[in-house]
């Protein structure tokens, strides 16, 4: 029988029709879909023994206690530690996803440490009179910070730079406060230790004076919407009611509101006044209200070995002459305060300064440095965490490495110590030994939830416990050795730029910049970023929202591109008109470019692109 082409086509057609009546094609489609979810390129969590390990979160100065659920040694979920006297079992959203940071797409994995060391040696040899070698430490108070200070003391013209300490270095005792007036401080949104703040929250009345309805304002007992930049005027009027009429004009509140507030602060004490940028007027108001020694206390220093005390003093960037730093090391390996690059850049010498940044991402100062050396990131790194602002007691805890960092990561303190020719030794253990030697305080161990007096613990056991996530708590606060509070008497150097600029609006930069997140310098986990951006809960980086009237006054119509300008420079941004933003304010979703030109509180102007 002869086969024709028609027969073959009919056979094929029959085959195709028959195949549709079998499970094969449908199953292949499903299988291919499943394969695409599980293909070999997708990372797979390890399988193995399930264990719990304890550490302390190094993502902000709060240093909350963390219980990590590990599978085959790999942390797969993080939670707070109930019973911890500082963090009280709480962990913020950022902390809950901290174990994902090592896999962040912006992670920096390669650097050139040998070339950086050679360039540093060359530049230090060339360092002339009036020039300096400096370390900018964004998270001061750590054992590594002391290494930097010792290194800078060993170097001719060495300078140790750190952000100004909040509240002049005092600590807040929220547990004693009955009334808290917050002048724009994000008290319920990233300020201090979240667990501690929320535990104390039931005992104080919170009044938030702020131009926009921030998350803290929304959760406060009372929100006083004041005009941008009028915080200092309000603080002055509360201290001296004679200035209430002018304060009413500046803030937009009524005189009665201001006087009632002043009465409430006095009658319902102890009171505490916090401002977002350490306004001298707020510190003076605290002094007048008798907050010093009650809600503001002098926290005892965490002991350090005697040999460390020959160290360079802590200075702020503004105190260094312009064009004087020849070699600058910047440690941003752990999240800390942010200083605009524009403020740092003008301190560098004009001819070939050497800037070495230690960072885990290229989103920060590394973009401007000649050398950016990759570092471990939480929870890979091992570092101590300085006491939080709301801890009246001295504390010492270690963020213990839960995951081995990738090969080739730089150790900032070892690098800087070597460049300065000092032996950094095992700084962390030396400091732990000094604390043990002091015999003060108690050790809180997480696994059993016990507090043990330090004098009952041997040095080896103390060190071992610290490496298992335990927290040392020093004794109660010490009495103040001298009164502080009047603006003229505030110890240390105040930041020259921020508070003064905020007091009065300037014609050149009429808008007050407010960030949508309390810690704009911190990158969050990839999962959190994705969830936020996919859900449209957060503006995209380098975008700003402003009131339509403000936009019109700036010559901007509708959503468009614009240029943001501050005293430190200018950058392109996206602009969204938003009626919920008060006139005179600019609500900004920080991106690297914006952070380069904006400090925590900056005035700015926006012009149409």
């Amino acid at each position: 029988m002869q086969r024709t082409r028609r027969d073959i086509l009919l056979f094929m057609g029959g085959g195709a029709a028959g195949a549709m009546l079998t499970p094969a094609p449908w199953r292949l489609v499903t299988d291919a879909a499943i394969w695409s979810e599980n293909w070999p390129g997708i990372p797979r969590p390890a399988r193995g023994e399930i264990t719990a390990r304890y550490t302390n979160c190094a993502l902000c100065p709060a240093g909350c206690a963390v219980r990590a659920r590990c599978v085959a040694g790999q942390p797969v979920s993080l939670a707070g530690v109930a019973g911890n006297p500082l963090s009280q079992g709480a962990l913020c959203a950022f902390g809950l996803t901290g174990h994902q940071l090592p896999y962040h797409p912006q992670r920096l994995k390669q650097g050139t440490p040998e070339e950086a060391a050679a360039a540093v040696r060359g530049a230090m040899a060339k360092c002339g009179a009036g020039e300096s070698v400096a370390v900018l430490d964004l998270a001061p108070g750590r054992a590594a910070s002391w290494t930097y200070r010792r290194a800078m003391a060993a170097v001719a013209n060495g300078v140790y730079l750190a952000p100004p300490p909040p509240l002049g270095g005092a600590a807040v005792n929220l547990a004693k406060a009955r009334t808290v007036l917050s002048l724009g401080a994000p008290l319920l949104d990233g300020w201090g230790t979240p667990g501690n703040v929320h535990a104390a929250r039931a005992n104080f009345r919170l009044i938030q004076a702020e131009p926009w309805e921030s998350r803290t304002a929304a959760l406060a007992d009372e929100w006083l919407p004041i005009r941008p930049g009028s915080e200092a005027a309000l603080a002055l009027a509360l201290k001296d009611p004679k200035t209430a009429p002018s304060a009413a004009q500046a803030t937009g509140l009524t005189e009665k509101q201001i006087l009632d507030l002043a009465n409430e602060l006095t009658a319902n004490g102890p009171a505490l006044v916090l401002s977002a940028d350490d306004l001298p007027e707020a510190l003076a108001l605290n002094h007048a209200l008798g907050a010093w020694g009650q809600t503001l206390v002098a926290r005892p220093e965490v002991p350090v070995p005697d040999a460390w005390k020959k160290a360079a003093p802590e200075r702020v960037v503004a105190s260094v002459p312009d064009n004087s730093i020849r070699v600058l090391f910047i440690d941003e390996s752990v999240p800390g305060s942010h200083i605009p690059w524009g403020a740092i850049e003008k301190k560098l010498v004009r001819d070939n300064p050497v800037v070495v940044a230690f960072a885990w991402t290229l989103e920060g100062y590394g973009r401007h440095a000649q050398f950016t050396l990759p570092t471990a990131v939480y929870p890979e790194l091992t570092s101590d965490i300085p006491p939080a602002i709301d801890s009246p007691a001295a504390t010492f805890r270690i963020s213990v490495s839960l995951v081995a960092p990738p090969a080739g990561m730089a150790d900032p303190s070892a690098f800087i110590a070597k460049a300065a020719g000092i032996d950094a030794g095992n700084a962390l253990q030396e400091r732990a030994d000094a604390i043990h030697k002091s015999g003060r305080g108690t050790l809180f161990t997480y696994a059993d939830g016990k507090s043990t007096p330090l004098k009952d613990i041997k040095p080896d056991a103390f060190w071992k416990s610290l490496n298992e996530g335990a927290t040392w708590l020093g004794g109660a606060e010490e009495p103040l050795t001298r009164r502080r509070g009047d603006a003229e008497e505030i110890p240390g150097e105040l930041p020259s730029e921020a508070p003064r600029l905020r007091v009065s609006a300037s014609d050149t930069f009429p808008l007050l910049v407010a960030f949508t997140t309390p810690t704009p310098a911190t990158l969050s986990s990839p999962l959190m970023s994705k969830l936020y951006q996919d859900s449209d809960l957060r503006m995209a980086p380098n975008t700003a929202a402003l009131h339509p009237d403000t936009a019109r006054a700036s010559g901007i119509t509708g959503a468009s591109r614009a240029v943001l300008e501050t005293q430190y420079g200018r950058c392109a941004i996206g602009v969204i008109p938003d009626e919920s933003v008060p006139p005179g304010m600019l609500e900004v979703a920080a991106g690297p470019e914006i952070l380069d030109i904006c400090g925590a509180f900056t005035r700015a102007k926006v012009v149409a692109a």
């Binding site: 027969d7 073959i8 009919l10 056979f11 094929m12 057609g13 029959g14 085959g15 195709a16 029709a17 028959g18 195949a19 009546l21 079998t22 499970p23 094969a24 199953r27 292949l28 499903t30 299988d31 291919a32 499943i34 394969w35 979810e37 599980n38 797979r44 969590p45 399930i50 979920s77």
Partner: protein, 189 residues
């Protein structure tokens, strides 16, 4: 006629050849009889497939559990001799293949289902506990899922008493029938 021939050929290939082709199989390392252990030794499922102290499910028992009884040969069968010689004496864990291994993106808690939900082992694992011989382990060549996850038949039977598969649809069906929560994050943590 050619159309019909083509259709019949495709139906045959799809219903008979495809189920064999889609799975690759390998034998289990030990010739193990659940039936002998249940009937002669009187063991129950949970004697070997136990929960740990922290509530996690131990799954397939490790060699130490087996060796507690089989430190020396118990009987003269070839299977027993092979087990002792190949695994117990050299202290080597058998390379068991788990019929019910869920993929990486699924979090399944046995203790929740057994203790809280009062499910019997057979409701998901079928008559495995009464088998005299371990079936070869079959795995889907494309998706990598065990055949037991899909269900042992190519199209799952919804008849009463039939062993369901262990796919997401099967879990959701059961949760829905019981009026239980079945949101994404219940299983995909």
């Amino acid at each position: 006629m050619p159309f019909l021939a083509g259709a019949l050929a495709a139906l045959g290939a799809g219903w008979v050849g495809f189920p064999h082709a889609i799975y690759k199989s390998r034998p289990q390392p030990v010739d193990f009889s659940h039936k002998v252990h249940a009937e002669k030794a009187g063991t129950k499922c949970e004697d070997c497939h136990a929960f740990r102290e922290d509530g996690t499910f131990a799954g397939i028992p490790s060699l130490s559990t087996c060796a507690a009884c089989h430190a020396a040969p118990m009987g003269t069968t070839a299977a027993e001799k092979n087990f002792i010689d190949a695994y117990v004496t050299p202290n080597r864990e058998p390379d068991w293949a788990s019929y019910a291994q869920q993929p990486e993106n699924v979090f399944f808690s046995h203790i929740t289902h057994v203790k809280l939900g009062q499910l019997k082992c057979e409701q998901c694992h079928g008559d495995q506990g009464a088998s005299d011989k371990l079936r070869p382990y079959q795995v889907d060549r494309i998706s990598g899922y065990s055949r037991d996850i899909w269900g042992r038949t190519l199209f799952q039977s919804k008849a009463a008493g039939a062993v369901p598969g262990m796919k997401m649809d099967d879990c959701v069906d059961c949760h829905r029938k019981q009026g239980l929560s079945h949101s994404c994050l219940d299983c995909h943590k």
